[in-house]
Amino acid sequence: MRIPDKSALLVIDLQNDMSSTAIPVMKGSHCMQNAPRIIGYFREHGIPVIQVREMHRADMSDFGRELDGVEGVHCLEGTSAVEFNPATAPVEGEYTFGKRRYSAFLGTDLDLLLRCKGIENLFLIGGLTDVCVRFTAVDAHQYNYRFFVVTDCVTGSSWKAHEYALANMKYLQRESNITTADIIGEAVEVKDND
């Protein structure tokens, strides 16, 4: 596919805590193999790359109800878990911001940033498909943005939840489910990493 004008890539929560057990992650996702390629493609073509990461204060004052479900304590400031994943970390000149909730729009300046840059289309990669990616997509949709989720460059809490969340995003915008090959323009060879 041709990346439309006024687009940006939003990298969601690709952080350093991949081995943590605080948050369930499905096995066998190709997210971390594909993410550097997608990010590289946007960089090469001069399309803005924006990275958001989940951060919680060390005294845990901002978790709200986030520990009332499946997730344990995660992404505390001052720990290595909060850092960007070295494989996909932002480079000089890229926009970054932190968030306290699932949606990258809630309590952040993302909508302001996108308006200032004249962005109308958001490409989404990262995790979790069924939580932060989906609820960011929902808010993007509600703010009138077109969104595209790269289905083999997002990872969910389980395969089942991942698939239902992708279908849910397709319900909102019927063209929204795309693949790494759609962007890179070639089939991507990846190894399973269960």
């Binding site: 709200g64 109800r65 479900g69 609820f135 239902y164 279908a167 849910n168 915008q173």
Partner: protein, 191 residues
């Protein structure tokens, strides 16, 4: 018997006039009947209780379509236009004197509405939620409630959707993912 804590509110999401004639958006008579029976049961329970504020959310779009945004880029056709049956309340649950009404243009009842201000005014901390669609407006209202620090309690049988049963179930499971124990049964109101 379900415990209704202090500082609770009941939120009826988009319990509105008849669904579209388009068969693609039909729930089927049986699912619709069960949904309606249960949403009426919940409404009547809270009205009888008399101590919990009742808030009616209604999806409304301007007739010229100016406020649909991207809402027609997916599975939905124009819906809930102001001044139509779809743009009005389902009569058995329609608001009565002393109940609150919050219109919305988007899926989440928190998005560009005064719901959060109203809930602060009411000092609500626990939100009992029912209505439709389970996998869209109920789901996204529940997650925003969660993100704004409210405890959510969703009456599973009093939620409805024309989407397939497994899709509705996946939405309820996601709500349970972020708040354990938040999916509750209408049966618990009377036992």
């Amino acid at each position: 018997m379900i415990n209704i804590p202090e500082h609770s509110a009941l939120i009826l999401v988009d319990v509105q006039g008849d669904e579209s004639d388009d068969p693609r958006y039909s729930m089927g008579d049986d699912r619709k009947r069960i949904y309606h029976e249960n949403v009426i049961k919940v409404t009547q329970f809270f009205r009888k209780l008399g101590t919990v504020p009742i808030i009616h959310i209604i999806e409304l779009h301007r007739k010229d379509g100016v406020d649909f945004g991207r809402e027609l880029d997916g599975s939905e056709n124009p819906h809930c236009l102001e001044g139509t049956v779809q743009g009005s309340f389902y009569p058995p649950c329609a608001p009565i004197e002393g109940e609150y009404v919050v219109p919305k243009r988007r899926y989440s009842a928190f998005f560009a509405t005064d719901l959060e201000l109203l809930l602060r005014g009411l000092k609500a901390e626990h939100l009992f939620i029912c209505g439709g669609m389970t996998n869209i407006c109920v789901h996204y209202t529940a997650v925003d409630a969660h993100q704004y620090n409210y405890h959510v309690h969703v009456f599973k049988e009093a939620c409805g959707t024309p989407s397939p049963v497994d899709v509705a179930q996946a939405a309820l499971e996601n709500i349970e993912y972020f708040q354990k124990g938040s999916i509750i049964s209408v049966a618990d109101l009377s036992s």
